[in-house]
């Protein structure tokens, strides 16, 4: 029982970073109704910018984190311009494939600039795990969880309480009607990309610094963790993204403990498949499905 609870705690900590990745996905999907496969790779580039700042200037954690976020945002804007804004409405598949070839491009740029592939990434905190009764908490995971919680609350406030949040929700529900309200839809979409990339950048920094290393494969990993967490929670829902991330984290942690490492991803995909077949709306239910279907009659 202690093991099970410990796994849940570990899973929730880990899952909070998945939740941040999923929030980025869900924000972009919400306003664009298109899948950005380059999401993971663009924050991977951000993390390599952080690595560069570390290698060149031996910078401190704050500077590295800032560089990671800024890098992710800049690449995010590049992706938005090239794969989304430039491709006309109604061509969602083209945007998706475009974001895929840009993924390949970003990955190769990184391998050219960083030929060793695997690089050391300085940890944010290096302290012994905290003991609380029978349970252990790794400090970097606690930080990860706290950051995720703060950022989610902030995003919730932004979406529900501000003028920009209203515009963003309006655009994600009906871009046409938003235009009639005088909302600058293009600008809202770009800003949604920036916010999503910044969330991704923070998530990337937290995950990579906890791992202590970075490889170009992080892009693929981040895209698929974010995608799975988003689908588990329910597409287009911010609470769903967080819950989906936590669920994914817990399932992975339990699988590793009870079945073995090789079952970690297998159980995650199995769960995803079951959800899609029996409950496509994910944890947040059918509302998300209907909204998505109404908005994307033609993919």
């Amino acid at each position: 029982m202690v093991d099970f609870i410990q796994n849940c705690l570990d899973g929730i900590m880990l899952g909070s970073s998945y939740g941040l990745l999923a929030i980025g996905f869900t924000l972009i999907f919400g306003v664009m109704r298109r899948l950005n496969l380059s999401y993971g790779p663009s924050i991977m580039v951000g993390a390599f910018v952080g690595t560069l700042v570390y290698l060149e200037f031996q910078a401190n954690a704050v500077a590295i984190a800032a560089a990671t976020v800024v890098g992710a945002v800049i690449v995010g804007i590049y992706v938005e311009r090239l794969c989304f804004r430039a491709i006309r409405r109604g061509a969602a598949v083209a945007s998706m494939v475009s974001s895929f070839v840009i993924w390949m491009q970003l990955e190769e740029i990184v391998t050219v600039v960083f030929p060793d592939r695997t690089y050391f990434f300085p940890p944010l905190v290096s302290a012994a795990p905290v003991e609380l009764g029978p349970f252990f908490f790794k400090l970097e995971n606690v930080v990860m969880f706290a950051c995720a919680a703060v950022m989610t609350v902030w995003l919730h406030w932004l979406l529900q309480r501000t003028r920009f949040g209203l515009a963003l929700r309006a655009v994600s529900e009906d871009p046409r009607a938003a235009l009639f309200m005088g909302i600058n839809v293009g600008a809202v979409m770009s800003l949604a990309f920036v916010i999503a990339s910044a969330f991704g950048g923070v998530a990337a920094y937290l995950i990579v610094s906890a791992d202590g290393q970075i490889t170009p494969l992080f892009g693929l990993w981040a895209t698929f963790k974010g995608l799975i967490a988003m689908m588990l929670g329910g597409m287009g829902s911010i609470p769903g993204a967080i819950l989906g991330g936590l669920l994914l984290g817990v399932v992975e942690a339990q699988s590793i403990w009870y079945l073995g490492t090789e079952y970690r991803d297998l159980s995650a995909y199995f769960l995803l498949f079951l959800f899609l077949v029996f409950r496509p709306g994910g944890l947040m239910g059918q509302l998300a499905v209907e909204r998505e279907q109404a908005a994307t009659r033609r993919v």
Partner: protein
């Protein structure tokens, strides 16, 4: 108040509007009738700044608004109630109304809140459903919400694209009563309709749009309702055909479907 001169719009190679000329007088209800595909919605979109005309001029209150961005058009005082209403389904009624006042939200929050109260006075049914999600409202309520949302922009000119579409006859009457009331309170209205019978009852002036051009302009009564209905539903080509059976029933409450 609004003058459209020689406006042409095309989608790729297809010309939707071919030199449209019309004007809307301040204080009145102007109605635009015409068959499906005549370009009525295209004209609305062009005035609203969503589409750019290939040629021609659009003037509003003696200022050129041709090719202006949608936000600029809204700021100048034109609000559109779009076809099919397009309310924000997963936002509640109150949020939908606030979204209608989007351009004023930054500085004039108190004024916006007063306007919400004002709109609720006019539409008590919306106040009752203030916290309900717009997607769960009935068709008639959604239409009211769409009108109310447009009013939140404090428009000088309210454009409405087929407000009676898909609504039951009783609801249609209610919507048209609202239109008359709004006009009586000083809002100029530019209405696109399929429902010629109802439209001719409220309109001060009307235009017939056929194949991308204005083919008639005048006051209700200048043309027999029968002819208007025929031309509005079926276009010029059908003018000499026998009356179109139940498609153009004189009471005008049914719509040609398809």
């Amino acid at each position: 108040m609004l003058e459209v001169s020689d406006v042409a719009v095309s989608y790729g190679n297809i010309e939707a509007l071919r030199g449209v000329e019309l004007s809307v007088e301040e204080g009145g209800i102007t109605c635009l009738l015409g068959p499906n595909g005549a370009g009525k919605t295209t004209l609305m979109m062009t005035i609203a700044g969503i589409l750019r005309p290939r040629r021609g001029r659009i003037r509003f209150l003696d200022r050129d608004i041709t090719g202006m961005r949608p936000s600029g058009v809204v700021k100048r005082g034109i609000a559109l109630v779009p076809e099919n209403r397009l309310v924000f389904p997963a936002m509640n009624v109150h949020e939908n109304l606030i979204a209608g006042a989007y351009l004023r939200l930054g500085k004039r929050k108190a004024q916006v809140q007063r306007d919400v109260d004002h709109v609720f006075e006019r539409f008590p049914r919306l106040q009752e459903r203030s916290k309900q999600l717009a997607g769960t409202l009935s068709g008639g309520e959604q239409q009211m919400l769409a009108v109310a949302r447009a009013l939140m922009a404090r428009p000088r000119l309210l454009m409405m694209d087929e407000p009676s579409l898909g609504l039951a006859p009783l609801i249609v009457e209610e919507i048209f009563r609202i239109i008359s009331d709004l006009n009586a309170d000083g809002t100029t209205i530019f209405l696109v309709e399929q429902n010629a019978h109802m439209a001719l009852q409220v309109a001060d002036h009307f235009f017939l749009l056929e194949q991308g051009q204005v083919s008639f302009s005048g006051k209700p009564g200048q043309l027999s309702e029968h002819e208007v209905i025929q031309r509005a539903y079926l276009g010029k080509s059908a003018q000499h055909d026998p009356p179109a059976g139940d498609r153009g029933r004189p009471d005008g409450t049914t719509h040609p479907s398809g």
